[in-house]
């Protein structure tokens, strides 16, 4: 005999439960949490380095969780800025999930100030998979560089739809490229009209202040 059983469950419901637990921990410490997602090479770590310096200069506290498939290279780069950082080597997995981030947070906690203003998670370089996994962040930040296609948002709507903010990186290269920034912005808004979009370059510093100001504006003042 065949029986029908109603399930009506989100596939990632277990991840959601852990993400909620992470969120409680982050909130208790006062941290605003961003989850940075892009293809490999878009400039996540470079933007991160430039961002951290500016946050610290503004007198605010920040920490980082660095996701990488194989190495701790990015975590080493971030550690050089003096900001507390924990690496998550996923060993092949193409995304961070809530459990990995929760464990990294536990390892990070002893080196954190009692109140932390901002936690930045650099996800594994991948445009598709990370967008499905809530890690407990307040917002997802999608990054796309001007050396990628203008149609990236249309090809990867899952990410741009789930993101709150979009960083268009490496704009210092625009004079050397035939890249239509307006077209990219139009495509990003076609997927998600509410996106906050920042055009920036970690190299020239252009647009960095606006982005960091936005981030600090989102963070609670814990001082």
């Amino acid at each position: 005999m065949t029986r029908e059983i109603k399930v009506e469950k989100r596939v990632l419901s277990r991840n959601d439960v852990v993400a909620t637990r992470n969120r409680v921990g982050f909130t208790e410490r006062g941290a605003y949490v961003v989850n940075m997602i892009s293809s490999p090479g878009t400039g996540k770590t470079t933007i991160l380095e430039a961002t951290l310096g500016r946050i610290v200069e503004a007198g605010r506290s920040v920490a980082v969780i660095e996701g990488d498939v194989q190495t701790e290279n990015d975590a080493v780069r971030v550690a050089a800025t003096g900001v507390p950082v924990e690496a998550v080597v996923t060993g092949g997995a193409c995304h961070l999930d809530a459990t990995m981030v929760g464990k990294a947070w536990q390892r990070l906690e002893p080196s954190l100030p009692a109140a932390l203003d901002i936690l930045i998670v650099e996800n594994v370089g991948n445009l598709v998979c990370p967008s499905a996994y809530d890690v407990g962040e307040d917002e997802k930040v999608a990054l796309v560089s001007v050396t990628e296609g203008e149609d990236k948002p249309l090809k990867y709507p899952a990410l741009f739809n789930a993101a709150t903010t979009c960083l268009v990186t490496k704009v210092d290269l625009l004079p050397y490229l035939e890249f239509d920034v307006e077209e990219l912005v139009k495509n990003a808004r076609a997927v998600n009209p509410a996106l906050n979009i920042f055009l920036l370059s970690a190299k020239s510093g252009e647009g960095m202040d606006e982005w960091v100001e936005y981030l600090i504006g989102k963070a609670k003042d814990n001082s």
Binding site: R3, I5, V7, E8, V11, V128, A132, A158, N161, A190
Partner: protein, 114 residues
């Protein structure tokens, strides 16, 4: 390529629900997958075959309903399917408002056989 991880979660939940519902061989699994969920349907089918091997899910039929991006008009409230939010409402030509469907990834129901 996170379909392997997704398939593992589906299999875990389905085995749990089948057990809770009295056990037996799983005959079919009904999924709803949004076009904007980030999951590739054919890749997921393949991953499910791999994960189901040697379990009571082996051979279960995957019934997948793909949900197209659906928006609700902010002006008149009509719900309509569109490629992107640049598509105007077919009723009143206002721009698409909130997304109401198309990003889900859920298990709807399963069929179990004694």
């Amino acid at each position: 390529m996170h379909e392997m991880g997704i398939a593992t979660e589906i299999s875990r939940i389905v085995l749990e629900e089948a057990e809770r519902g009295g056990g037996g061989r799983v005959k079919s699994i009904s999924l709803t997958i949004g076009r904007w969920s980030g999951v590739e349907v054919e890749t997921l089918r393949f991953a499910m075959e791999v994960v189901a091997e040697d379990t009571s899910l082996a051979g279960a039929e995957l019934k997948i309903e793909v949900v197209e991006p659906t928006f609700k008009c902010a002006e008149c409230g009509k719900e309509f399917i569109a490629e992107s939010r640049l598509t105007p409402c077919p009723e009143c030509e206002s721009m698409a408002g909130d997304m109401v469907a198309g990003d889900e990834l859920a298990i709807k129901e399963i069929e179990v056989e004694d």
